[in-house]
Subunit: 249 residues, 2 copies
Amino acid sequence: MPASETDNLAADIEAACTHNPNVSCGDCRLSGICLPLALGSSDIDHLDNIIQRGRPLQRHAHLFREGDEFKAVYAVRSGTLKAYRVTDSGNEQITGFYLPGEILGLDGIADGVHHSSAYALETAAICEIPFEALEELGRELPQLQRNFLRVMSREISEDQQLITLLGKNSATERIVALLLSLSSRNARRQLSATRFRLPMSRSDIGNYLGLTVETVSRTLTRLQRDQLLRIDNREVELLAAPELTAMLN
Amino acid sequence: MPASETDNLAADIEAACTHNPNVSCGDCRLSGICLPLALGSSDIDHLDNIIQRGRPLQRHAHLFREGDEFKAVYAVRSGTLKAYRVTDSGNEQITGFYLPGEILGLDGIADGVHHSSAYALETAAICEIPFEALEELGRELPQLQRNFLRVMSREISEDQQLITLLGKNSATERIVALLLSLSSRNARRQLSATRFRLPMSRSDIGNYLGLTVETVSRTLTRLQRDQLLRIDNREVELLAAPELTAMLN
DNA sequence: CGCCTGTTTGACTCGCGTCAATGAAAGTGG
DNA sequence: CCACTTTCATTGACGCGAGTCAAACAGGCG
């Protein structure tokens, strides 16, 4: 077994158990970073009762599409999704990647219609949180209401971070920023911050960061040549996190 | 009096009356597009009671700064503000312009700290909406709670629009998109969609769109040469809105 | 008026996109 | 299980759009 597979054992185990549709919020290992954050256990039970956990979303399947009626927001339990919009001229712009513990579908609340599509990059388990029920429950559980507003606010803040990245940073800086973002989101889930598997293709990375595939590839090659990281296909190892972080300053 | 001043008479009158700190939500001509949207009149009165209306914010003054404790969100009554962040390397990235009827400060909810600064491009009247009180009132008035979620969701959606613009569009397309956005936001406030005054400098436009001042200036000159618009300093007239719209497709 | 900031225009440069070709990996069907 | 196809990734040569540097010109404000 190659080294890279061993390294992802932890991730595989996590995937295996969070794929399980019968895990409730109270038992979910992501409850510390997801919507239930800081809820008491009886409140969590209430939240649990409104959440729908269907069978896993197949890889390459859509969770919802731009234009679909908005009925629920979704928490990722395992796997990775990308959210994207199609521009007037027909090409795709990825607006975010969603990892376990993160919530998507928030742009549909405004007018009851999803403004982006969500697509599974790998098989994913999803908690569906019907919006009407969430609103009602939020009225009874102020902490839940507050958490939900925080989740939305964080999404705004992160989108603005991306705007800044796209507006001001070079190709290299954008790519480093994405790698560090993935790294810290992994760390938050108790996974390795230095070695992980990219859930998305080079072309998705380029699309997200406003770059071409070729630029992404060349940049990664150069970062590797400069000993800042090692990358083999989708397996990344950050060799010099401090130096990488410094590149963004 | 030059033609451009006459044209802005309507805007001046609006500014004059919405600057008045004593106008309540029920009387405000922006209530149809602002937070009170679709509230009954008694509910509006409740909302009114929590809103603070101080004296106007002076041009070039800050409403809040990045790092300030988050205590309230703000509705613009008159004037224009820009929101911006300072990057690690010390330069500014504008994340949005806020016109009358629009709400800012939403990125502070997540962790109680503002992640952007807000700065008045021209003298502005502001409604301050203390967040705790809004949360409490929201629990009693589901429609208000819903409106607030919608406002946040719209902010997300618009930020993603900007991400797409920055990721996929040329300098010309970005500039045209901004002009059309300002145009439609003016129309929403019953002002002219074809003739208006830019509230921001060329350098702010460039900053917002990820371009340099020179590129903004050259692009506007070219659009004028091509008879798509007329621009004299900050006074714009869109001569061919359909063609401009078509440029984004 | 004179300063200071904002705007325009020109000449030059360069990072990233485009086009093209090859190679590696993953998915598909017999 | 292997051949075939398709998708994904890498690398090179070249060109262009937008950035940089520089200078002149408003225009607003004290």
